[in-house]
Amino acid sequence: MSENSLLYERPGPVGLLKNRVYAVAGGAFVLILLWSVIFRLYQRGQFDHDRWSVFLNTQVWGFLLNGLYATLLVAAISGALSFACSVPLALARISENHLIRKTAEVYISAFRAVPLLLLILFMAVLLPTVGFAWPAMAFLVVALTLHHSALLAEIVRSGIMSLERGQREAAVSIGMTGGQSMYYIVLPQAIRTMMPALIGQLLAIVQDTSLGYIIPYNELLRCSQLISTYAPQSLLQAAFVSTLLYGMISALLMVVQYKVKTRNRAVANMA
């Protein structure tokens, strides 16, 4: 936060007073906005006991946590699959063979261009018609993998490209083959530098599993909506609680991402 403090003088007595006035005015504006939202919700009985009492029921929580488990399961499977696909894709993208390179380019730009929701709907329609009568979870995993492997491949590629040429040249000059130098020298270093971006992509995958809502796959968001068929008065409350659960998972990943970023910076400063 302090990195931009060059933009203004260190405030003197008048400046401090001014800042305080702005802070009070801005804070008051935000608080009034929040308060009016909360008050209106209160007026319409959104904080009544019977709207929230569903969450005192352990079975409801069991159902929600099942949804959370389904979300995390899909995120883990498609995260692992996308990463596994993205490294070969990135290598194909920088391959010297014209045909391989073009194929990877077409794959990457095609799946980056299609909205994920459309891809999920398409997979849910296409795969059964060509004979894969899988459960909804599989369609979600396939669509997420196709989409995110293309995005990850670009991250991996930029990670490989950002490494100095000398590393690879040195490896080749001590007699390693191209593949060996990639596997032992380039990839380990590239993956370390792009770790924050990879975690960011995992975060995106976790959040994108919520699109399974429409196939329908019973992940967290869908479960929260199903609760409202059991307790119709708690529609908004259930959506809010599920958003909080997503927020907790995301916050965890964001903290890990921050830790990795600072550790990387510390390592870079040591070198």
Partner: protein, 211 residues
């Protein structure tokens, strides 16, 4: 029958264009405001901007959309699904816009800001005449990327019942039992995103400057 489908498909494309345009405009304005708040001298405003951006990063856009679409009527504000979607998508992308602009602000050489300060310019003056114009020009490529991702994200408005390309292709697919319409939808997103990239490229070339 076929031409009826084509007509509805083009209508869906029109809705996607309207939706994207309105929400990108909202996102740009709110994003610039958030970026300014994030670097201003007042610490509560900085804190608010930080909270907003991190909260948006931690929320799946579909969950946000559903809360806005279901929640606004509960507030007694009965807007259309379209307006609710614009609001949700715009507020979501504003966070990314503000992060991009902040990166642009960091790229402005400190010497320029110091020179401006030594001339006695105020914080607002420095931002308006020196920092923001350069910051926005520097980040036009990333704004272009954000806009293209945003156009694709508008597809989730289909869940809220807005009849844009994705929703239309889904309905036509059910009616005609012809999944080729999904390919048509994919192509129409290309028809929208590729010129968006050109548009930003043109702006970039027009606003190019040498530092």
């Amino acid at each position: 029958m076929f031409w009826d489908y084509v007509f509805r498909f083009l209508q869906g494309m029109g809705v996607t264009i309207e939706l994207s345009f309105c929400s990108i405009l909202l996102a740009l304005l709110a994003g610039i405001l958030l970026a300014v708040m994030r670097i201003c001298p007042s610490s509560p405003l900085r804190f608010f901007s930080w909270c907003y951006v991190e909260a948006m990063r931690a929320t799946p856009v579909l969950a946000l959309l559903i809360m806005v679409v279901w929640g606004l009527p509960k507030l007694g504000l009965m807007y259309s699904e379209f307006a609710s979607s614009v609001l949700a998508l715009g507020l979501y992308t504003a966070a990314w816009v503000s992060e991009a602009i902040r990166a642009g602000v960091a790229s402005v050489p400190t010497g320029q800001v110091e020179a401006a300060r030594s001339l006695g310019m105020s914080f607002g003056g420095i931002l308006y005449t020196i920092v923001i114009p350069q910051a926005i020009r520097t980040v036009i490529p990333s704004l272009s990327g954000i806009a293209i991702v945003h156009i694709k994200t508008t597809s989730i408005a289909a869940v809220a019942g807005v009849l844009e390309i994705t929703a239309t292709s889904q309905i036509i697919n059910v009616e005609s039992a012809q999944w080729l319409w999904f390919l048509g939808a994919a192509v129409s997103y290309l028809i929208l995103t590729v010129p968006t990239g050109w548009f930003f490229k043109a702006i970039e070339q027009r606003m190019v400057f040498v530092r």
